[in-house]
Amino acid sequence: MSERLERGLGVLRAEMDKKVMSFFSSCVRCGVCAESCLFYTETNDPRYTPIYKTEPMRKLWMNEYSFWGKLKSALGISESLTEADLADWEELVYDGCSMCGRCSMVCPLGVDISMVIFKVKHALAVAGFSPEGLVGATQRAVDIGSPMGITMTTVNAMIKHVEEDTGLKIPMDVEGAEYMALLSSNEIALYPEYLESLAKIFDHAGISWTLSSDAFEATNSGLQIGNKKIAGQLVQRVVDGAEKLKVKTVISPECGHAYTALRWEGPNFIGKAYPFRVVHILELLDELTTKGILKTTGIETDRLTFHDPCSIVRRGGIQSQPRNLLAPITENFVEMTDHGSMNWCCGGGGGVSSNERAEALKLTVFNRKKSQIEELEVDAVVTACSNCRMVMEDGLESNELDIPVLGLTEMIAEHLAPKTAG
């Protein structure tokens, strides 16, 4: 047995907990999950059936944890998991799954298929079966601190521009600030208006906040590639930064997987609870609005819809907040046919958008989102994840559709009531 196969099997065995045991023991291979997965519905390729993507884990369960597997093993006729199995599943798991979790919502037996796919991904990553693009991004995240190779020099340049444009000071490394904001790579490289919006909103709300020069990056390539150890290292940087500045709350940016990594999986990755609270920016904005600290004015007359980012809504539980925030500033808001926790993914989550090899497939599966948007005949799409935003902008442009995609935080910032009015 090769060393890399041994590593992969080691992870699969370590991940075989009571949940996985109950999942494989109850799955009747009905195939219902296929109809929930846009990689299947848009390609009609049965290999993209979600439960099929868990096959390496199921095979291990069958061989080592089931009666028949043990019997076959005793008779010397079992079909062991091979290196070729892992290699074969790399494309299915990395290119053909955005970890959107829609399959986990529909399984009649309650199998959290997405969770098991992540475990397979973890095994593949540790065994060295991951796409080049993601490996490179992860290496940069470990070495430089950002998957896009963004350094503090770049962040400082952005801060300078934002300060010039807004006339507001961006607080950096302020010890004892109440909130510490994080940025995703996309928000630094593509959407600097996010930081500008934060500056305006926090100035309006009069709350103390800061960025950390040690921990400005929220993107967690470790989660995207499926390597829990690296994911933990990247989370630890944020934890160290927050502890150093003694902040009470860390704000996850408009980035789905960053929120998952920090809010939900982070404590498990590093093996301890945080001494601070983590909120997604939408949660914070909703809280501030509810308390009357944040006041908006003006109404968008355009026909708008909201794209629910999977990691924030379906796997993160932030469903009402974006709608609460949109309601007072829109008069022509429409929901997509399937929205909220059953919304369709943009197709670029789970590291797919960072995986150049998956580009063609990503555009194919984007057809589902394209149909949802076209059906509504909207003037613009609002979302709250920089990755979804980038994927949808690319997809709409590739389909020659001139529909802007807006960030919700940015919209709120544009509708802030004048301070004197408050």
Binding site: M16, D17, K18, K19, M21, S22, F23, S25, S26, C27, V28, R29, C30, G31, V32, A34, E35, S36, Y40, N44, P46, R47, T49, I51, Y52, Y65, S66, F67, W68, S104, M105, V106, C107, P108, L109, G110, V111, D112, M115, R263, W264, E265, G266, P267, N268, G271, K272, A273, Y274, R277, R314, R315, G316, G317, Q319, D338, G340, S341, M342
Partner: protein, 213 residues
């Protein structure tokens, strides 16, 4: 001799394998290590678990039109089988005399016919879909086919036994039931029990994150 074997030792053996096997499989799930979630919960894991155990009996409306066949056939089979298992007159009598010591009103003959037709039709449709659909063909295992065929044979022999009333048919039915009981704990048929922890674990996960599931 065969009759005494099927009605005697084989019956007790199969019943023992079934009971011990099912309990063993459930105990393995319960006693296998789980991981404590260190993140701060937003909602209740307990209520999420309970909710998910029941809500998953119904398909989500967003996907129901695409899985209409599975829904209809699935309900036909499971409800039909449930009615046959617990309300067919010979079963009620058997449970009263040999296992429970008390009985209940059995369903009338016409209801038995309807229930058996539902169960047969549902099972056949589900199996045909498994064989004819590209997804079903790809993901199905030998276990799925054995379980479906065994269940079909048990139902078929049961119906023959009741409708024809020959003791040989009753004996054949009982023999196939014994085979099913022995196979049950080591097969996908275990989903009749393990769907509960499976739904509960996932529901708890959704519940603590405050997800609308």
């Amino acid at each position: 001799m065969i009759k005494s074997l099927i009605d005697g030792p084989l019956w007790y053996f199969s019943l023992a394998v079934f009971c011990i096997g099912v309990l063993w499989q459930l105990a393995r799930i319960v006693f296998t290590a789980g991981k404590t979630d260190l993140s701060v919960a937003r909602g209740s894991a307990g209520s999420g678990a309970w909710r998910n155990i029941f809500t998953r009996f119904l398909p989500r409306k967003e996907i129901a039109p695409q899985i209409g066949i599975q829904i209809v056939a699935g309900y036909m089979f499971h409800l039909g089988l449930f009615a046959l298992l617990f309300f067919a007159a010979p079963h009620v009598l058997f449970l009263e005399e040999h296992i429970l010591g008390f009985g209940w009103t059995a369903m009338p003959h016409w209801a038995f016919i309807v229930a058996s037709q539902f169960a047969f039709l549902g099972l056949i449709i589900l199996w045909l879909r498994r064989m004819l659909n590209s997804v079903g063909r790809l993901i199905s295992t030998l276990d799925d086919h054995i379980a479906a065929i065994l269940t079909f044979i048990v139902m078929l022999t049961g119906c023959f036994a009741l409708l024809k009333g020959f003791s040989e048919l009753r004996l054949l039915h009982r023999f196939t039931v014994e085979l099913l009981l022995i196979y049950f704990p080591f097969s996908c048929l275990m989903h009749a029990f393990t769907f509960i922890p499976s739904r509960a674990f996932t529901g708890a996960w959704f519940g603590r994150r405050g997800i609308d599931a």
